[in-house]
Assembly symmetry: C2
Homo-oligomer: 211 residues x 2
DNA sequence: GCATAATAGGACCGATCGGTCCTAATTTCA
DNA sequence: TGAAATTAGGACCGATCGGTCCTATTATGC
């Protein structure tokens, strides 16, 4: 992959994340990426749509390398990793001052019904995300009580996080995401064996009862 | 309110819900609403943007009258109402064959960062929604254990539902929403007093542990 | 040293868009 | 019965858009 092309995709990712794919013109992408003009842009990309797909790939690749990497940390207990992962997402929303939501959620919200190609790729992205969460939850299955389905729990976690980022973006209030992060940890904690809500047990998933 | 204007807004709501506000042209809105042409459209609305706001108001008004009305049913126990409310959302996703997501989530995802007017109104909409959930949860507070914050729990429920509708829309799988609905009920059930996950207790919030 | 790639900086195209303005017919209302 | 509202059915406008095509210079690689 040419480093210049990657730099262009990164610059485009930032702008598209901020304004949405349709509300970002090729001219604006050219300026953001420091290209000289249309020829330059179309030298690297067949079309705006192709860039859109590359942006999605790039964002997921970074998310997998950075965000989801926490889930694969062998030196940390599985549920501690999940807690850290949630903390990372909460911290990111705070860093961004509650703006821009989730790159995947944004694209999904904008294009899922009007662009089948994007919808399918986003479907895969979310399934891969949920799949990695499921893998982690399976590692912790001995800590779970009877009847916990890692796959279902994983989907719920993705939904809650995406919904949290959407609400945070609309309300412009990072505290919203912080609260949802805490509650989500509390939710996961309710799946543990021998858990008594009235007893305070130290650990990231033993919060003060979805407070 | 003129009945014809209302009918136009309803037709527009369906199309905008399906394609998104920006991907729906005034010409398409004219056809969908059975208007004769641009003059006709601009007779009723100052601009496309004005129609957009009316659509949002209309959708929230209907949601309040139908969806959220369940939460205010005096003859049903508070938590039973919540369960019914969740069931309604799950059923609606199934009815729509997992398409179109949430009208508010869709608009939020598309316009929250690019149209401050819509973002503000959507912020109010979500706060009103969460506020009504909070009111209901306060009615059930005697059933909750120590340390449950209705406001926070309400926000979490909204986030999980919105996230669930987004995921359902992207995956085109209504089972996704059904699972999230069940898990959400299970989660609310964990806030109850004297609840033992290993004991099966009849009731909408005593599911087989987030199965 | 030369061919190729990258960069430069657009003009221009057809298409689409929101909105204005037009003539005209029909319906409604007082 | 006549004025006003609604309906009819656009043409047209300026703006924006994605993309093609153009001349030209500079940088790179062999």
């Amino acid at each position: 992959m040419q480093p210049r092309r990657t730099a262009i995709i990164d610059a485009a990712a930032r702008l598209i994340n901020e304004r949405g794919f349709s509300h970002t013109s090729v001219d604006e992408l050219i300026v953001a990426a420091g290209l000289s003009g249309k020829s330059h842009f179309y030298h690297y990309f067949k079309s705006k749509e192709e860039l859109g797909f590359e942006v999605l790939e790039r964002q997921f690749s970074r998310f997998a390398d950075r965000g989801l990497a926490i889930l694969r940390e062998p030196m940390i207990e599985p549920l501690d990793r999940l807690s850290l992962f949630i903390d990372t997402i909460v911290a990111l929303q705070r860093e961004r001052d509650a703006r821009n939501g989730s790159p995947f959620g944004n694209l999904a919200g904008e294009l899922a019904d009007s662009h089948e190609g994007f919808r399918k790729r986003l479907d895969e992205v979310f399934r891969q995300w949920a799949g990695q969460l499921e893998t982690l939850l399976k590692e912790a299955v001995s800590q779970f009580r009877e009847g916990v389905h890692p796959g279902r729990l994983a989907l719920f976690i993705v939904a809650a996080l995406e919904g949290g980022m959407l609400l945070t973006r609309v309300t412009r209030d990072a505290v919203v995401m912080a609260g949802i992060g805490e509650d989500l940890k509390g939710f996961v904690a309710t799946h543990l064996r021998n858990r008594h809500p009235e007893r305070q047990i130290a650990g990231p998933f033993e919060t003060e009862g979805a407070q």
